[in-house]
């Protein structure tokens, strides 16, 4: 599909918005449509191909010459979801019609439609788009959409704890999502039952009882009210607790019980709204817990118009569920609850959906509860989900996949860290953008795109400052990933490409000397020197603000880097254990090394280290990012680099020939490492080659993420802390060293991943993770 082009590819027409958010993006190429028409909100889903450029490492011939030729255009797939108020449906359909290329191609085709308005708007859909309406069952769509989100979107589900820190407790990617109960509280129809008391009741009764007429107005009003003025409490009847039945006096005995023939009302409209909200929340919670009991479930996911992630209604529902279920049932909410029906409807209309892994696009999605104003005179929310190029799964060597959390610090909870990192990234963005513009010297639009990128990223940081959980858990990893999403979005596929190439070439010139020096050493001295080499190499990181300055302004080389490594004991120092292990233990069967930066790091640090393992009889899998992130080594780059290194080092040459040194890609696209979304092929290879040692290198991969990750096998984590603030916070200083060796305590055996082939694509049977553990089979539906 790739076609080489010279110029810029133009973005398809879309509504341009002030904060550089595009609404109905990529509409031109839209292929399959689906629509969920609710009584209040409508969600349009469409699948569209997007073209983006990839930088080609091999053809990057130095800056300024034919550098711009080093790109190929690829086609990716993206799911777009746009949510707006149903009353604007006609405007939106007109807009879609106007912007679709060759609208006639849809004539006679069908569109999946679900939701309560499907019936009413059928003629409109047929008239506007010429599409045949194919109605899909609402509940089926909700369930399918829910499964899709839980499986593909990290931090999709959360618990809500009002006034706690953190208020939002996000669920980790979980290998086990079933069984659960889904409650949709708009017009409540659950798969197993329902109640007519829901959001419509709140709105309808609220409109009758107060002068506020809007749904959100009513919720706001409820925030200020006190239900105790309207409801009859146990203590109003008993004078105190009803102790023989264990009912506390504050418990509501009769909702609205004080409104009976009250003469002079002693309550306000706000009190009425509050009482109404609590009455309905309690009731939904009660009925949902009863269903959960009948069907023996311990998780309930809530969605629907009544909640819309409104804190007060989430709070009252959570309270009610916990109360009625005696804390046995966990109430969960979904970040994208509004899109369930549309996602489900879309999935029913397509066959390709479930075979792939998908990723939330942080650049294109509006945040949690964050509507974007548009030219169409209405506000919309949107969600973009990219089809991952790779099928991903949990790393097979994670000790406990269910409890694995890649991120070390939850910035939503840790305000000090949040403030620091948001500030730090804001200060760094100029550098990143300058680098991006610099990487495309011949492009007339680079500057413009660069300034848009900056605006978007800074807006996002400011937004996260006020709404830390807008995109789920807030972590350094997410902030870094967002940069990469924005780079891709604004067509800067690999800003560090030339820098990386230059540094690799430079470092290769020193590889021979480095190896010679190391080979003069023996035993513990050599092992220590190899580790020091990896650590020194790891200093060469353009992502670290202070180091970047150093690299730019001085003639900073490997020798200079070595002098920066502090004396022992280090901040985390298990070096002696590591040396002991290598000297006294059986050689490892196979090591998987997750590498970090290009240049000195990979070539003078990692390669000699890997070479030593090879010489000990250990196979080595070098695992590199699939897509660029800062100056991190990418897989295509790694392949070329190994080929070049083989010309210098015979051990490497032989190992490549013997297939004992293997380069593989991780499916990662950022400077961190999420072991719950690892390339399936890599996972299969790890099992096949009996990996019994995992080496993770760099701040992003061992400090921001995986610092607490526990493996089934030996694990060595190496990094230099190149951020003074973080180093001090950890109790060290700039260039503090992490050398954390965690030997496996148990023998690993019986690890397996099943995969089956669909078409020519490998896929995992219908679940994010299927693996065997020591305790027996962990199997999912």
């Amino acid at each position: 599909m790739a076609a080489e082009i010279d110029g810029e590819h133009s973005h398809p027409q879309c509504i341009k918005l002030p904060p550089a958010v595009e609404v109905f993006a990529n509409l031109k190429n839209a292929q399959t449509f689906a629509i969920d028409i609710g009584l209040s909100l409508t969600k349009i889903a469409y699948y569209s191909t997007i073209s983006y450029r990839k930088a080609l490492y091999e053809d990057a011939e130095g800056l300024g010459n034919s550098g711009e030729r080093a790109y190929k255009v690829f086609e990716g797939s993206r799911l777009h979801f746009v949510k707006f108020e149903t009353r604007y449906i006609e405007n939106c359909l007109d807009f879609v019609k106007k912007n679709l290329v060759d609208v006639e191609r849809f004539h006679g085709k069908s569109i999946k439609v679900t939701g309560g308005g499907a019936f009413k708007y059928t003629p409109l859909l047929q008239e506007k788009l010429g599409l045949l309406v194919d109605k899909e069952d609402e509940i089926d769509c909700l369930i399918k959409g829910c499964n899709f989100l839980l499986k593909n979107i990290p931090c999709e589900a959360f618990e809500y704890h009002r006034h706690a820190n953190p208020e939002y407790k996000f669920q980790k990617a979980e290998p086990n999502i079933f069984p659960y109960l889904l409650v949709e509280s708009d017009e409540v129809f659950e798969r197993i039952g329902g109640t007519a008391t829901g959001g419509g009741t709140f709105w309808g009764l609220g409109s009758l009882l107060t002068k506020r007429k809007g749904f959100d107005e009513l919720l706001q009003l409820a925030e200020r009210g006190d239900h105790r003025n309207v409801d009859m409490l146990v203590k109003d009847i008993y004078g105190g607790d009803y102790s023989s039945q264990g009912l506390p006096g504050e418990l509501i005995a009769s909702s609205f019980g004080k409104a009976v023939a009250c003469g002079q009302p002693k309550f306000s409209e706000a009190d009425l709204a509050r009482s109404l909200l609590i009455t309905i929340s309690n009731d939904i919670g009660h009925i949902a817990s009863l269903y959960a009991t009948v069907y023996n479930m311990d998780k309930i996911y809530f969605g629907g118009y009544f909640l819309r992630n409104h804190p007060l209604s989430m709070h009252t529902i959570s309270y009610s569920i916990k109360y009625w279920s005696h804390d046995k049932v966990k109430p969960l909410f979904l970040r994208h609850e509004g899109y369930l029906g549309a996602i489900g409807a879309y999935l029913y209309g397509t066959e390709q959906s479930d075979k792939y892994s998908w990723l939330e696009n942080y650049a294109g999605s509006s945040g949690f509860n964050d509507s974007v104003p548009t030219d169409l005179g209405m506000k919309i929310d949107q969600l973009e989900i990219d089809q991952a190029e790779y099928i991903v799964t949990f790393c097979p060597l994670l000790k406990d996949p269910a409890s694995y959390n890649p991120d070390t610090t939850d910035l939503a909870q840790d305000k000090e860290a949040r403030d620091y990192w948001l500030q730090c990234f804001e200060e760094s963005v100029d550098k990143f953008v300058a680098r991006a513009i610099h990487s495309q010297p011949h492009s007339p639009t680079a500057k413009d795109r660069g300034s848009k990128l900056k605006e978007k990223y800074i807006n996002r940081l400011h937004y996260l400052h006020t709404q830390p959980v807008a995109y789920g858990a807030l972590t350094v990893r997410i902030l870094l990933d967002t940069i990469e999403h924005c780079m891709k979005e604004f067509d800067f596929p690999d800003p560090y490409l030339h820098q990386k190439k230059k540094e690799n070439e430079e470092a290769l010139r020193h590889l021979h000397d480095r190896i010679t020096t190391l080979d003069k050493l023996e035993g513990a001295e050599k092992i220590k020197a190899l580790i020091l080499g990896v650590l020194s190499g790891n200093i060469f990181d353009w992502g670290a603000k202070d180091v970047a300055k150093l690299l730019e302004t001085t003639d900073f080389g490997f020798k200079e880097a070595q002098t920066k490594i502090p004396g022992r004991p280090w901040l985390e120092d298990n070096l002696d254990d590591w040396i002991h292990r290598l000297q006294n233990g059986q050689p490892h069967k196979c090591a998987a090394i997750f590498v970090d930066n290009s240049g000195v790091d990979i070539i003078l640090g990692i390669l000699p280290f890997a070479r030593d393992l090879l010489q000990r009889g250990t196979k080595v899998i070098l695992c590199a990012n699939s897509l660029p992130a800062l100056n991190d080594v990418t897989y295509p780059e790694l392949v070329v680099t190994l080929r070049d290194a083989a010309k210098i080092c015979n051990v490497i040459k032989q190992a490549l020939e013997d297939n004992t040194l293997i380069a593989m890609e991780t499916a990662q696209a950022g400077p961190c490492l999420d072991l719950s979304r690892l390339n399936l092929d890599l996972c299969l290879a790890m099992v096949k080659h009996n990996v019994d040692l995992i080496v993770i290198e760099g701040m992003g991969r061992t400090l921001h993420t995986n610092f607490h990750a526990k493996m089934k096998c030996d694990c060595l984590k190496l990094a230099v802390v190149k951020n003074r603030w973080l180093a001090l916070r950890l109790g060290g200083d700039m260039y503090a060293v992490i050398c954390k060796y965690e030997p496996s305590k148990t023998k690993i055996y019986d690890i397996g991943i099943k995969s089956k082939t669909i078409g020519d694509k490998k896929t995992i049977e219908d679940c994010p993770s299927m693996y065997k553990t020591d305790n027996g089979n962990v199997q999912m539906r």
Binding site: G116, G204, V234, Y238, A261
Partner: protein, 400 residues
């Protein structure tokens, strides 16, 4: 009202201290009425259930007074008997439900009539003043009472009419009273046949001689749901705050009415489909995939967010919608509780059902429809008086 799911925690010991002999003997006595005759000294016999909205008073009028007893009877006692039995209205808000009156009942060896009286709990002050004016303060020292008001108004009773309240557990009294009345009155328990067809729908007596297990749904201001396995073996498994008080409170707010009777009358003339959103309003007909009929309410008050619709509905429609909403909700919860407890008979009681065939028929229909005929909704003639009756039965002249 409450979600607690635990066994009743009345121990035999504290029941005895409440003047309660023992459960077994009482239950037996309630069935064969063969315990020894009690003297007039402890009279008048009252049972009182002071709820959140209504106070229920049951009075036993002895009909077997001997000449000696009559001579010995104090004038005050005679006056009280005369006042209670000759009137059916007391003050502005007190009523005697004459149609529920039970003649020729035997309680603790005495033959007599049970009278059923109710007044709003908010009138407790007037009631106490009346009792005082009738000389009650000079007579008895102890009255048996249950319901929250037994606790809340205990001091008032002591201060104003020099009465001690022997307090009994509400739920325990409820079940005792219900079992007693049910065995005493052959037509107490009934069901509604053909609840959806007004021309065919009728009350049909139900033989409840083998009652256990059953679910007892007591709808007062709030709702308590009890699973009953035997006369002394029950647990409160659930409850909801959406009960009769909610219906009346909302109706007062929405229609400006003042009493339950008014609210029910309004509801009788109204049409909830002008207020609620039905399945067919959304789907154009039945919702096939889940077998939901088009006439089913999908969203209670779901049409009322529209200004136009608000302007066209009547008070009657709103009252009807409120009644239907509350009733259906109670029905849903009761049904799921029955499923959870694996119980097939659901007995509805409480004053919410008084003069309220609309709700009874809805409940009858809902139980039958959603359970595909496996659940049966049963009703009782003395709807709200069981707590008070249970209390009266527990009365023991020697208690103080």
């Amino acid at each position: 009202m409450s979600p607690q799911n635990h066994k009743n925690n009345l121990t035999p010991k504290n029941m005895e201290s409440n003047g309660y002999s023992t459960g077994k003997i009482m239950a037996k006595e309630a069935r064969n009425h063969s315990s020894p005759c009690e003297s007039m000294d402890s009279m008048p016999w009252f049972g009182m259930d002071i709820g959140g909205t209504l106070c229920k008073l049951v009075y036993f009028e002895p009909k077997d007074i001997t000449r000696d007893e009559a001579n010995a009877e104090v004038e005050t006692l005679k006056n009280i008997r005369r006042y209670l039995t000759k009137n059916s209205a007391y003050g502005k808000t007190g009523h005697r439900d004459t149609h529920l009156q039970m003649n020729n009942v035997r309680i603790r060896g005495r033959q007599g009539t049970l009278h059923f009286i109710r007044f709003p709990t908010s009138e407790m002050g007037n009631f106490l003043a009346l009792a005082k004016s009738k000389g009650m303060a000079n007579l008895v020292t102890t009255v048996c009472a249950t319901g929250g008001g037994a606790f809340k108004f205990e001091d008032n009773f002591k201060k104003e009419v020099n009465m001690n309240l022997a307090k009994f557990d509400e739920l325990h009294s409820l079940i005792r009273g219900m079992l007693y009345i049910e065995t005493t009155n052959p037509h107490e328990c009934y069901y509604w046949s053909n609840p959806t067809d007004n021309s065919k729908c009728q009350k049909v007596p139900y033989d409840f001689s083998e009652p256990y297990p059953f679910l007892l749904v007591n709808i007062g201001s709030g709702v308590s749901i009890l699973a009953v396995y035997g006369p002394e073996n029950f647990k409160r498994i659930s409850g909801t705050s959406l009960g009769g008080g909610t219906f009346l409170g909302l109706c007062c707010l929405l229609t400006g009415c003042n009493t339950f009777e008014e609210a029910i009358e309004l509801a009788t003339g109204g049409d909830n489909t002008k207020v609620d959103k039905l399945v067919k309003d959304i789907y154009g007909g039945d919702y096939g995939p889940f077998g939901l009929p088009g006439d089913l309410v999908a969203s209670s008050f779901g049409q009322m967010n529209s200004k136009d619709r608000r302007n066209t509905v009547t008070k009657e429609d709103l009252a009807r919608a409120t009644l239907v909403t509350i009733t259906n909700n109670i029905g849903s919860i009761a049904r799921m509780c029955a499923v959870n407890e694996k119980i097939e008979r659901v007995v509805f009681a409480g004053n919410f059902l008084r003069v309220n065939p609309i709700s009874m028929k809805l409940l009858a229909y809902a139980m039958d429809y959603w359970s595909k005929g496996t659940l049966k909704a049963l009703f009782l003639e003395h709807e709200g008086y069981f707590g008070a009756v249970g209390c009266l039965l527990q009365f023991n002249g020697e208690s103080s």
